[in-house]
Symmetry: D2
Subunit: 291 residues, 4 copies
């Protein structure tokens, strides 16, 4: 398939490489061109602008950091240059409002937006094992399926409205954040009763919570290993804000997300913005007079 | 070992039967005597009062519904009648303050309190597969180990202070409640975006949250199957209150537990007190204008 | 009128003195007898026990620190010794559950409970200018009116159920606490924007919030004058817990009170338990990385 | 002084008229021109575009509904046309981020931004009795003082950074919202105990809370008079979101504002978006099972 790919961060590179290796015709673009070096060595072509990239593409994929970057790419050429009938597959995590607005823009231009945010880290992306939450018009999803099969281990179809996929992605993220926050409260409570954190960790992860969310983040909390972030407090705040904005627009109060966001803010206020977001356990400890 | 057992609800019966079948000398007591019928048919003796029950026992186990029931049993005979040097093993879920006070009372009477709250439902208890969180003086724990081996699949030792086990049990319970509350918010958010709940369920439980907490309760929420409660909203409120009281005494703010408690209160206010506590998802939906 | 008075803290002494000066026949009791010295010099008699105090009294007033003290006095003699038809006027701040239970106990003994918690500090009590929130059977309230007139500037009648007065008193207290918490957030927000707190104080108290709640506590926050507490964080926590317990029993979620309680817990955890409860502004600042 | 005025809603008209009556040279602009009719009849001139309006103005005042409207006016001509050295006085309630960005834009163009959000309703504006919170460079504030004197009863100077005035305005608004929310909780609690709301109202407003915030909104709640909104739930949500965004950027958790926002969302979800924002008392009652 003729594919364009914009946004070659670590996630983007992994996904693009999968597509290239599967034999697709791939043109790539990144603001910092050097990040495309490896892909180009492997057969991808580099487009000097997003406008050039879009020419004759059936699908253009964006994997961008935030709404501002997406907006900049869209208004900077993509919307104008994407062929009629082509698909813009948005794989980054964006806000519901941004996706809704972009859906309308593309529809107005005779193009199709498919939202396809992913679940997993860069190494998972490189292995083609991402979870993909995909939403958009049924026939567009059908056209994307061969790509999904190359990129991920499983695709969760979330209906015809792209924003549905966005809502799921945000919900998945805050469910994780709230689990970390609840664990943080649990660890603070037992710490005040003199119990070593490892005991609570064992209790939680051996039974009801024998899942990566609790094992990975519980261990980070037990080890206070916040310095090699998989996901930073600042990025987590961005996602919490997107979730709360989605809740605001949809009139859904999210009290657990409020609790999460407040601890993230406290952690960032105390200088832990670039730490792994599980550092909210330290902020919870601080609020409990433990630090 | 010479064991007394007080409190033959469904959990208590399962545990007592395991001890009996393992060959221990078992005397039982229950306010409603008929619940002891099956155990007595299998070889246990029934004591007419808790005072009589305590005679010559090395360990007396209580598995009672709440602090009031425990207090009633303790002041109604157990404290006075339990032999010096004997162990009172408390397996029910109680408050930190109650356990702390009882620890002192027993110490004053030359007896030993071991807190050993359990993780698991009645069927798990009957199968001897409970998780046990045990805390108390090291030699007392050692003496209890043969019993733990009969009762549970694994014992988590939580130190010399009985209240440490209590704190862990409460923390485990509210971590679960907060997971259900976070899921409730997630389901409400995606529902407002027109996504079928099953899609979110699949996304959550296939990856980060592939654990019983999310699978069991997520499915209850998807099916709105609140009518056969494993654990009711009213019982969950009791546990949330115990957790918040523990947090209060230890000076640990628990904002996620606040969010959980508020939804439980709302659910109970709307008549769902005897429903499965996952019904907070319905209360969350109601607060979002969905019901 | 033949009046008994139990509980001669600063509030109690002020109220009792008003009654004495108005010519009532006053017998007093206090655990620490010496606090009665001044009243006895002015004509009151001291009873050696609460049982003796109750003899022939038409009204026995209690002004005690908490539910435990009230329970101790009631079960320690008052319930048994108070004449049939006599009134127990409870002026302390207690929990709804305690008042409800005591109402039933007195009814069972042919006595009458009137709840009459007060609004105001010791100096206001001494001046006979308290606000009184009174609830109980209509004829009992009528009998108490001459006393209310001596004690207070105004009586707010809250119906036939004593617990109604309790609910109002708790609601009044948490409305104040929530105002202080909201101000604390406001001061933290403007501090982060470099605005001197006095400017916010002036804005608030000149207009919408030109009332003692904001003027008194706003000034304490501006001056960080937490060392001469009018009401400590620890006492405020007790009241917040009473309010949340009342909300729990009545199935009323109180999210603003949760926020207040969490900051009180944080303040106490950081050693500010004996400071004026406006010190939650410092805790809020701490949570914002300002301290 | 040569003044331009953009934004002739009810507030804007009142303020503009004060300036006109004080003898200033006034050019006005409004998207819907007819709203300028009365002012023009009284001597103001109407500019066909904001660009034309700016010509030769010493001060251009904007009183616009939200950040989007402000952005539209600024980028639609004001930034380009405002003379070097002239002042853009922003009187609307905007976000901290918007004001910060605009401050930089004006500085880059050799212009000066003064933030001067106001406290008060349209009738207060018409009477020249607004409170004004003003921030900006000292000499600019000095130049604006004659205008402030015509517009308001009192000016609160909040420093050299315009965003400081914004922070104060947002803080004032959420302090009010949190007071209403706390009252809502108080009314729900006493309602569940059978106490008529008027009794609580009397208790609150006679003493600690004898101020407009509680008198005006308490009475609306007692009367359930939500149908003639002074300020709607939807507008209040906008302000709460601005406050939380400011808190987010400044790393200040605002838990009471979270509670407020969640009730606003619930109220709007239940169809009360265009009601007076005190309708959160009804939402609080609903969450308590009272409706």
């Amino acid at each position: 398939m003729k594919i364009g790919f914009i946004g070659l961060g670590r996630m983007g590179q992994g996904i693009a490489r999968r597509l290239l290796d599967a034999g697709h015709d791939l043109v790539v673009y990144n603001r910092t061109a050097e990040k495309a070096a490896e892909l180009c060595a492997a057969g991808a072509r580099f487009a000097a602008t997003t406008t050039l990239l879009c020419a004759e593409r059936e699908v253009v994929i964006t994997m961008l950091a935030d709404d501002a970057a997406l907006d900049s790419v869209v208004s900077g050429g993509l919307l104008q240059a994407l062929p009629r009938g082509a698909i813009h597959m948005v794989m980054g995590t964006h806000g519901v409002a941004a996706i809704r607005a972009l859906t309308a823009l593309h529809a107005g231009a005779g193009q199709i937006l498919v939202a396809a945010p992913v679940l997993g880290r860069p190494d998972v992306a490189a292995a083609g094992q991402l979870g993909i939450v995909a939403a958009g018009p049924a026939d567009a999803l059908k056209r994307c399926r061969p790509l999904f099969e190359v990129i991920g281990r499983r695709t969760f179809e979330a209906g015809a409205e792209p924003e549905g996929a966005t809502a799921i992605k945000l919900a998945n993220n805050f469910t994780l954040g709230c689990a970390i926050q609840a664990m943080s409260e649990a660890f603070a409570l037992v710490a005040k009763h003199g119990v070593p954190p490892q005991v609570l960790y064992d209790v939680l992860t051996e039974g009801l919570f024998a899942a990566p969310a609790y094992k990975v983040y519980g261990q980070i909390i037990v080890d206070e290993a916040y310095d090699k972030p998989g996901f930073t407090s600042l990025l987590a705040l961005k996602d919490a804000d997107l979730a709360l904005a989605a809740g605001g627009a949809a009139r859904v109060p999210l009290p657990s997300v409020n609790a999460l966001r407040d601890r993230l803010l406290g952690a960032i206020a105390h200088g832990d913005g670039e730490k792994d977001w599980a550092v909210i356990a330290r902020e919870q400890a601080r609020a409990s007079g433990l630090k």
